[in-house]
Amino acid sequence: MKYKLSCALVLLVMLSACDKYLAREPDNRAKLTDPAKVSQLLASAYPQGSYMAFAEAMSDNAGDKGTGEADVTNSAPYAFENVPNSDQDSPDNYWYSCYAAIASANQALEACNEATNTEDYQSQKGEALVARAYAHFMLVTLYAKPYDQSTAGSNPGVPYVTEPETVVNKQYSRGTVAEVYEKIEKDLLEGLPLLDDASYKVPRYHFTRTAANAFASRFYLYKKDYEKAVQYANASVPDLLPNLRPWNTTYQTYGINNLPAEYQKTTEPANLLLMTCPSIYTYALSFIRYRYALTPEIQNEIFDTPLEVTGGDWAYITGYVGSQKNPGVPKLNYTDFAQDDPTSDFGLAYGTLCLFTTEEVLFNKAEANTYLGNYDAAIKDINLFLSTRLTGVTPGTLPANRTVTQAKVRQHYNNDYSIQEALVKYILELRRIEFVHEGMRWFDILRYGLTVTHEFVGTGGVVTKTLEIGPDDKLRQLKLPNEVKLSGITDLNR
């Protein structure tokens, strides 16, 4: 009996010992044990999805070439239909990748907050907050109505997630645009001062202070808080000129073949934040070859109009792929492909997105200054920009005959508009040409409620159908993935 009792005692000891024994993780999974590990996790806090394909196809940069390749991620957005899958380049894919990025940020924040030595985790906390704000900002921009102080409190937003999900089907709600903006602002302002550029191994793929300030300038521009937009633009890139893309100097030496290899490099100072993700939009120059893309007519329209103000020629390198029906600026890396296996031809094509650039900071600042009435400041920046974009011009020193003035801009629009309106229009045109193929035009269309007209061409080049998407069209907001219903959200926009 004595040993039976002892046995029972030993068993009891063993039960608790077992628990420790069974706490061994089953494989090589990572643990967030120190700030460096949290930093590693934060590299996945940037959406690994591309908006370029659908944003570009929805914008007025795209027309119907009549023939040519059309992946469904190109044809469906052009027709303002839903892309029926969640593969790379689809809106659903972008939705999922934003929330995956948010999950990483939240997991990182949890690790920062649970750590005993929280002061060692400050820069990680900063990056997590800014990254979380960015992903939500992109979602609210694409999936909700544009910010307007009068309606933001009632328009549905997107779920703002602030903690890791630990159940299979958690319930969420969309909240309002105002709430989402409020939370973005809070995360951004809390995170920005904590950032430490020295903590990054590859800074251009992370929110440096520069990139975060650029994001802030975009955020406040969209929020129509123009003073802050200028303030953060100045904080982001105080000295614009050396950080603008050297289109009319160095880029001219690259030629058409090496430009794509250089444009999205981390060594290019204009690239403030880069992100690489699976995408077939850039691979093999699809962005130029797609059927619903830049047509020769649209190309002429985009490239010609701003020149009417300045005269001269663009230093932008343009070309054709296959036929003259496929024009474009071959600036995006189109050879990035990872095979599944060293001997297999199958694999994933990757694309790189320039999420923030010096050019955008310049435009944000000029636009905000325009609204603040600082027209001269805005025009000064526009001229700075043009001095790097026109051929035969030394950057920084624009000759008088090429220099933009208030009068020239108003004249360009037949003096129909006030200088403020005319400047904004002109800035939008410059943005359109600078960011062509990159999807940025769609965000401007959303912000300003511009009407998009898409024509469909049948055999013989006859227009068979015209689709007009006005400022209040419900189709402007992307449809939330069907599966979102599982989390209790019923309003999917469409």
């Binding site: 040993y3 002892s6 030993v10 010992a17 077992c18 024994y21 069974l22 061994r24 993780e25 089953p26 494989d27 090589n28 999974r29 990572a30 643990k31 590990k37 590693q40 996790l41 590299a43 996945s44 939705w95 999922y96 929330y99 999950a103 990483s104 939240n106 997991q107 779920p159 890791p164 999900e165 159940v167 299979v168 089907n169 958690k170 969420y172 590859v202 251009r204 793929y205 090496n258 290899a261 490099k265 981390t266 690489t276 890396n333 050879t335 990035d336 990872a338 599944d340 296996d341 031809d345 199958f346 694999g347 994933l348 990757y350 790189t352 993935p481 979102v484 599982l486 989390s487 959200i489």
Partner: protein, 1135 residues
């Protein structure tokens, strides 16, 4: 490191536990030492008694009967003539024991010769069920289990134990998806229990679970990948060492395996030494396997093939464009020759019609027999030697074996050595212990291969550089030749480099080495007559290496060097393009040597069990019988997988390694580090309790509770533990008064059981799973090692579980000449791991969670009969029949079309597990002969989007798993001759025919004979469903539409399925036992028997549509091989 310390600490605790108990026993044992030891006093009136033991049924002598003098504790065994001699004193009790016979005790009363007849044990029911935890009296057992004697199911000449169970036990389905040595068949006990789980039974050897060195799911078994050669966990076991199999099927039988028992358990018991005379056994198997023949398959000969090629030529396929693709045969070679300028200025081939005709004629006449060239009449030998001896204090069993297969194909061969050493010691009546050492070493060669990759475009699988001889012979056209006119090897072009299969098989090989060592210790201490302590502990180490040696002359190496023209440089995917300089030409990055790729797997496994067993029979007339087991188990397995790729190894240059840094750069840029290592940790602990009670020999009750803990779900406490339970009852009807006098009924038992078992699903995220990866960036300098969320935490994650209800009836009639066992069961599997789409707002859009349920039910029947029992004549017949159906009652995941039409089948709610669906064929296009289908939107078109999840237009064909399985075994014995005929069958499943059709054909492809009936001209669509060969213009048109692969779709259409039913003559064997009298004269041999067997000689019935395709085999290339036809001569000698 800290974690390891904790584990060590824990094990010292467990060790302490057993030591503590042992020390207690030793103290106790000390008291009784004197009593137990009989001492060695010399007896004066000892005489030697001779006698003979015969079978009471037919008077044949019994060989190997154990005889023990219960006083002197000395023992012996009978020889082949059934004779024995033993030292006795008057009044001694002699106990005779023999497997399958009732033990008999005879008192020596001075007889000069003692004839003993042993009668059959009380039907099959008096046998024992070995669960690995307990040996249970079958009479009292209420679960569903089948016990098989190894001697009855052994197929001489088959080295893998798992393949022997085919058709032997009702409800056990075995599909030989590949029969290469080391590859496991697809084994299911009572069908699938899980949707995404492994569905593999648990193998238990001598009470210890046999852990797999690598986890390969049932579906992966058919992949042909090199890993599959480690798939069979029992490949290292010498068949001759096995005593018996016990297949545990229902919840009551498997209960003591609790959380791992859901898929059933196969318990292997190996042989032990017996006390008595030393017994030496030799078994030698000498086999040969036949080459496959074209007459069995449906492949065109070279003349027919040339006519197809000339059609391809006419249709614009075989222009000089073939040179651009890098894979070309006769025609491509012709273009090369007419362009080749000889030193004298003339062309290697004149560009005339006459010359072309002559050139092509040679190939048309070639009729190459690839099977003959690549296969050989192999010689397989297996030698096994065992020595068993013992006294009452020590029993020892030693065995060793050598298996050598020089290869069915030119590329494969296997050698296996095994060792098994087992000693059992009896220290006292109370304390006994045993040690078991087993080891095996395997050396194997296979054709060099790499893992297949999914073809995301067509949805199929691709395997580059595949040189599997079987699939090569089936897929390579017979107009190509291996030798030229002069008798030298002739090369054609693959991957832009010269290719000859014979050279390639020499230059590209896979070498596999496996070492498997196990040390096991057992101890038993009897506190009292009723209370017993048992300890079992085992440590096992397995290490396997797979080396792929790709010689510098191999096509795989030369493809990396093919850069002869700028055209080739542009098209060859194995050249390197510097991403920093996209306008530069591609360059060779493997200037010297070949590849040396190495994969190493290791397993260290530790398993300890302590248990207490209380057994007592009490009451008047012994009406109460109680047996209680309580125990604890702890187990761990550490697995490690390491791989490294060597580039530029010069095999012919003294093994110098000359890697070019750019190939490493290329690989690293592609995120393929040239080496890798990963670890896997399995921690497991369990507590169990089992009780059995029998009242009045009639009413049996059985119950088990088990509490399992595992780390496999991740480090979260709430998911860690799982209780399982089962209970059952059995009623021995024949013990009732009303049946006791019925002579015809020997036994009749009704049993029922119900219980919960579980299994680990393929999800481990009870806690968040973060993984490291080198993130993809376009430039190497920007690559970072990052952490990403592989799976979010799931607080509700749990085991996959299953309730099983089983009702069975066992009967033995007419002096046990007719025995039968019937089982009916219903299972409800729930909490199965399934994929589920979510809103993605939490960060993971597709989760694996316990979100699927299924039910299955089935019936099993076993009938054994002895229609003829005469003195010289005996006929035994055994029929097994298993029926199983299942249905997925809940699955949230919507599979894509390809998931359902692929040959392994897919899973969809409302259908069975692994259901095969087909794209509906809608006839051939009237003008082009291109097949058309009802696509995912219900439209008739040639294009079907395989990645679509709109599957409502597919046709459900059936499950790929058979509904009915079983076997029929007949043994006829006439005097010393014994003839065995064993037939297996399965039915009720569907098979996808091999993909034979393509949008475009290369010059390499062999055409199946279906092509005779192909669409040739408009109008043919009314008389044939075989599509046309597309012309080049049509091909370009077709390609203009995205995802338009009509011929690929045709392979997955309703036209390309067959029924999987088959009846196979598995073995026919004839044995002859040399007469005992003859052997007696030699005074050396105790028994000699010779067996001649034919294995897989005849596929008696299969669907005609299969046209030679093996209904079990998945022709996946790589290392996969179909079951061979084999003849074996087996010699068994006992000394």
């Amino acid at each position: 490191m800290r974690k390891f310390n904790k584990i060590d600490h824990f094990f010292s605790l467990s060790l302490f536990f057993s030591l503590f108990m042992l020390s207690g026993f030793v103290a106790l044992a000390g008291d009784s030492n004197n009593k137990m030891l009989p001492g060695s006093h010399i007896l004066q009136d000892t005489t030697t008694l001779k006698g003979k033991v015969t079978d009471a049924d037919d008077n044949t002598p019994l060989n190997g009967v154990s005889i023990e003098n219960l006083r002197s504790r000395r023992g012996t065994t009978t020889n082949a003539s059934g004779e024995f001699s033993i030292a006795v004193q008057t009044g001694d009790q002699l106990e005779f024991t023999f497997i399958g016979k009732a033990p008999k005790t005879v008192v020596y009363l001075g007889q000069t010769f003692l004839p003993v007849a042993l009668s059959k044990a009380d039907g099959a029911l008096s046998e024992v069920i070995v669960t690995g935890f307990q040996n249970l009296d079958k009479k009292k057992f209420s679960g569903a289990a089948t016990s098989l004697k190894a001697a009855d199911v052994k197929i001489d000449g088959v080295a893998d134990v798992s393949r022997m169970l085919e058709g032997r036990a009702a409800g056990v389905s075995i599909q030989n998806v590949s029969s290469t040595f080391g590859a496991a068949p697809k084994i299911r006990i009572r069908g699938a229990t899980s949707i995404n789980g492994e569905n593999k039974p648990l193998w238990v050897v001598d009470g210890v679970v046999l852990e797999d060195i690598v986890n390969i799911s049932n579906d992966q078994l058919a992949s042909g990948d090199p890993t599959t050669l480690l798939g069979s966990s029992v490949a290292g076991i010498n068949v001759n060492d096995i005593e018996s199999f016990d297949i545990l099927k229902d919840a009551a039988a498997t209960a003591l395996y609790g959380a791992r028992a859901m898929n059933g358990v196969v318990v292997i018991t190996t042989k032990k030494g017996r006390s008595g005379r030393q017994v030496v056994n030799y078994t030698g198997n000498y086999s040969t396997q036949f080459k496959p023949r074209y007459t069995d398959y449906n492949i065109m000969n070279s003349v027919e093939q040339m006519s197809v090629l000339s059609e391809l030529d006419r249709k614009g396929w075989l222009t000089t464009n073939v040179l651009r693709g890098g894979n070309y045969g006769v025609y491509g070679k012709y273009y090369d020759l007419i362009n080749e300028v000889l030193p004298d200025g003339s062309f290697a081939m004149p560009n005339t019609q006459q010359a072309k005709r002559e050139y092509l004629l040679r190939y048309a006449k070639s009729n190459t027999d690839w099977f003959d060239l690549l296969f050989r009449q192999s010689f397989v030998q297996e030698h096994s030697l065992s020595i068993s001896s013992g006294t009452d204090r020590l029993q020892s069993f030693f065995s060793t074996s050598f298996y050598n297969d020089n290869g069915w194909t030119l590329a494969d061969n296997v050698k296996r050595y095994t060792l098994n050493f087992r000693n059992n010691y009896k220290f006292s009546d109370k304390f006994s212990a045993g040690f078991l050492t087993t080891g095996s070493y395997r050396q194997q060669e296979a054709p060099g291969t790499i893992s297949r990759t999914a073809n995301v475009v067509t949805g199929g699988y691709d395997r580059n550089f595949d040189i599997n001889p079987f699939s090569y012979a089936l897929n390579t056209n017979r107009a190509l030749t291996a030798f030229d006119d002069k008798g030298d090897r002739e090369y054609f072009t693959r991957n832009f480099a010269p290719f000859n299969i014979l050279s390639e098989l020499e230059n590209n090989r896979l070498k596999i080495n496996v070492i498997d060592l196990k040390l096991q210790g057992e101890a038993t201490y009897k506190f009292t007559e009723h209370l017993r302590y048992e300890f079992i502990g085992a440590i096992r180490y397995v290490r396997s290496t797979r080396e792929q040696e790709v010689n510098e002359n191999a096509n795989m190496a030369n493809a990396y060097r093919a850069a002869g023209t700028s055209e080739i440089r542009r098209n060859n995917p194995f050249l390197y393009q510097d991403p920093e300089n996209p306008s530069a030409e591609k360059v060779v990055v493997l200037p010297y040597g070949g590849f040396y790729n190495r994969v190493e797997d290791q397993l260290l496994n530790f398993d300890v069990r302590n248990s207490l067993n209380y057994a007592n029979t009490f009451g008047a007339d012994d009406e109460h019988d109680l047996n209680i087991l309580i125990g604890q188990q702890i187990k761990y397995s550490d697995r490690q997988n390491a791989s490294s790729n060597g580039y530029g190894y010069q095999y012919d240059n003294g093994g110098v390694a000359t890697p070019d840094f750019r190939i490493l750069k290329q690989m690293i840029e592609q995120n393929f580090p040239y080496y890798g290592m990963s670890k896997d940790f399995d921690r497991f602990a369990a507590f169990y309790f089992n009780a059995q009670y029998t009242y009045n020999h009639k009413y049996n009750f059985y119950g088990t509770v088990r509490y399992d803990g595992s780390n496999r779900l991740g480090a979260s406490r709430q998911a860690r533990w799982l209780p399982t339970w089962s209970f059952g009852g059995a009623w021995n009807i024949n013990e009732e008064g009303f049946l006791r006098d019925v002579e015809a009924v020997n036994y009749l038992k009704l049993r029922a059981s119900y219980g919960l078992t579980a299994s680990m699903g393929p999800a481990t995220n009870s806690n968040i799973i973060l993984r490291n990866i080198n993130i993809h960036r376009p430039y190497l300098t920007d690559v970072e090692t990052i952490i990403y969320i592989a799976n979010l935490a799931n607080d509700d994650l749990t085991w996959e579980k299953n309730y099983t209800a089983n009702i069975g009836l066992d009967a033995g009639l007419f002096n046990n000449r007719l025995t039968t066992s019937i089982d009916v069961y219903h299972r409800r599997s729930f909490d199965l791991i399934g994929l589920i789409k979510t809103s993605g707002i939490g960060g993971e859009s597709l989760k694996t969670a316990n979100y699927a349920d299924m039910t299955s039910q089935g019936a099993e029947l076993l009938i054994g009969g002895q229609p003829i029992v005469r003195k010289n004549w005996n006929w035994k017949i055994n029929l097994t029949f298993g029926y199983n159906t299942n249905k997925i009652t809940r699955s949230e995941y919507l599979p894509r079309i390809f998931d359902l039409v692929k040959q392994e089948g897919g899973n969809l709610q409302g259908y069975p597990v692994n259901s095969l669906f087909s794209i509906k064929f809608a006839g051939l296009n009237a003008t082009t002969g291109i097949p058309e289908f009802i696509n995912e939107e219900g439209k008739t078109t040639s294009a079907v989007f395989m990645q679509s999840d709109s599957v409502r237009n597919l046709k459900f064909e059936g499950s790929v798993d058979p509904k009915f399985t079983g076997g029929l075994n007949n043994t006829f014995t006439y005097k010393a001759f014994s003839l065995n005929i064993f037939i297996t069958y399965q039915a009720g499943n569907m098979i996808r025919l091999n993909p034979a059709f393509k949008n475009s054909y290369s010059e390499w492809d062999a055409s199946p004979k279906e092509f005779y009936d192909r669409w040739v001209m408009p109008g043919d669509q009314t008389i044939t469903n075989i599509p046309s060969i597309m012309d080049y213009y049509q091909y370009v048109l077709t390609n203009a539409t995205p995802f338009n692969y009509p011929y690929n779709n045709y392979n997955y259409s309703t036209e390309r399925v067959a029924r999987g039913d088959f009846i196979r003559l598995k073995t026919v064997s004839l044995s002859y036992q040399l007469p005992a009298e003859l052997l007696h004269k030699t005074n050396f041999f105790k028994s000699v028997s010779i067996t001649a067997a034919a294995i897989n000689p005849w596929l008696i019935y299969a669907d005609k549509k299969l046209k030679g395709q093996d209904p079990e085999f998945f022709n996946a290339g790589g290392v996969a091989q179909p079951v061979q036809k084999q003849i074996t001569l087996s010699l068994k000698v006992g000394l």
